[in-house]
């Protein structure tokens, strides 16, 4: 890749700006969910209904969709949101680089995304 004309920080910074926004949003949303879960668990201990010892991603999502906002579900939702934030950041970078017409880094970002996607798929399969 030596000598290639990469756009450095002189570029319109679309990828930088978009990924920054996504990271900030992801942290705020996940931290809010975690704080809400911990607060409800501390203030109303009887409301703690463990999902299971080792809940799957779909179990947590089903609880959220069915409005079972018990503290453990809220905490798991916050943790999953936090784990997904870097993945969303990579997806955003794909679009950011595409907007800058930097196709080489669109490909680089897609490679990272595919690896993360493979890891998530492996984890889902591992859970059965």
């Amino acid at each position: 890749m030596a000598g290639s004309n990469y756009q450095s920080n002189d570029s319109p910074h679309t990828a930088e700006r978009w990924t920054g926004v996504i990271l900030r949003l992801g942290v705020w949303i996940s931290a809010s969910l975690m704080i809400a879960g911990l607060l409800v668990a501390a203030l109303v201990p009887s409301s703690v209904v463990p999902l299971s010892a080792n809940p799957s991603l779909s179990e947590v999502m089903n609880h959220l969709v069915s409005s079972s906002f018990d503290p453990v579900t809220l905490m798991f939702a916050g943790l999953i949101m936090l784990m997904l934030t870097p993945v969303l950041r990579v997806i955003t970078a794909v679009f950011g680089f595409a907007r800058e017409h930097d196709w080489r880094f669109v490909v680089v970002s897609i490679i990272v995304l595919l690896m993360l996607g493979g890891e998530i798929l492996y984890s889902i399969l591992l859970k059965g």
């Binding site: 890749m1 030596a2 000598g3 290639s4 990469y6 450095s8 920080n9 002189d10 910074h13 990828a15 930088e16 700006r17 990924t19 920054g20 926004v21 990271l23 900030r24 992801g26 942290v27 996940s30 931290a31 975690m34 704080i35 879960g37 911990l38 668990a41 501390a42 010892a53 080792n54 991603l57 453990v72 905490m75 798991f76 916050g78 943790l79 999953i80 936090l82 784990m83 997904l84 934030t85 870097p86 993945v87 950041r89 990579v90 970078a93 930097d102 880094f105 680089v108 970002s109 490679i111 990272v112 690896m115 993360l116 493979g118 890891e119 998530i120 492996y122 984890s123 591992l126 859970k127």
Partner: protein, 270 residues
């Protein structure tokens, strides 16, 4: 979880995050010994908790650094191919190893980190050589001097190899890996420390996410422990960044290097 445990977790996370930021560590190197040695949390669970804390601090810090434009986003994305691959392998391997073996490995890691900290104190003369004949040109404004620093990346394969190892250590032992990546990016690739630190911090969130789902799938994510510790580390790291200018970091680094050597021996004997 009792209220006392919750307060301990929050406070422990806060202290680990604060000193982690002051010392240029991610927080995991301090958080894991606290969870294992003070609260008796199983090693796999401590690693999973640390990984969650690493994602939180990296994401918050990276958002700030992207705004300041100190992150070399293209270099970060490129090196993430190595760190993510290493972290996935590390995560899969860790979940096949016993907690005792992981504790011994972590003991070795803390020993190594302490040595790197001492080495950095002795070799930090404030001077940097910037190359402009490499690839992936980048620039940032040094707010201290008000100048714009232009640089390029040399020895990309070397940086990629170090990233692979750092990613593997991250997935295996739950730390960010910046302690290895930053000096390597600076010495091997000629990236200024400020840009190397910001780019490394930008990368470790994705690296940690690469193994987080594996720990989750293996049932090592305790929501109470992870949420309380991660929130504590997040608040602590923000505080650490704010007070870092007022603290004499050289003396602090010496103290913590010695503390880490002690922690390493304690963990090994555990």
């Amino acid at each position: 979880m009792s209220l006392l445990s919750f307060i301990f977790l929050l406070a422990g996370g806060f202290i680990a995050g604060t000193f982690g930021a002051l010392l240029g560590l991610g927080g995991g190197v301090l958080l894991i010994p606290f969870l294992v040695m003070v609260l008796g949390v199983p090693m796999h669970q401590a690693i999973a908790t640390s990984i969650i804390a690493v994602i939180a601090t990296s994401s918050a810090g990276a958002a700030m650094n992207l705004e300041r434009r100190t992150v070399h986003i293209r270099l970060g994305m490129l090196l993430e191919i190595g760190t993510v691959f290493g972290a996935i392998l590390g995560g899969i391997t860790a979940n096949r190893l016993s907690g005792t073996l992981l504790t011994k490995l972590f003991s070795g890691l803390t020993f190594l980190v302490a040595l790197i900290m001492i080495w950095r104190i002795q070799h930090n003369n404030g001077r940097e050589t910037v190359h402009t004949d490499g690839m992936l040109p980048g620039e940032f404004t040094d707010h201290g001097s008000g100048t714009t620093v232009h640089y390029t990346v040399k020895n990309l394969p070397g940086a990629m190899a170090i990233s692979l190892v750092a990613g593997n250590v991250s997935g295996l032992l739950g730390v960010g890996g910046g302690i290895f990546k930053v000096p390597a990016m600076n010495l091997l690739s000629g990236i200024p420390i400020k840009a190397a630190t910001a780019t490394s911090n930008f990368m470790i969130g994705v690296t940690a996410a690469a193994s987080a789902f594996i720990y989750f799938a293996n049932g090592h994510l305790n929501p109470f422990v992870s949420c309380a510790a991660a929130l504590g580390v997040l608040a602590g790291s923000m505080t650490g960044v704010r007070i870092s200018r007022k603290i004499h970091s050289r003396a602090l680094t010496w103290v913590f290097a010695v503390v880490l050597l002690g922690v390493s021996i304690q963990l090994y004997l555990k």
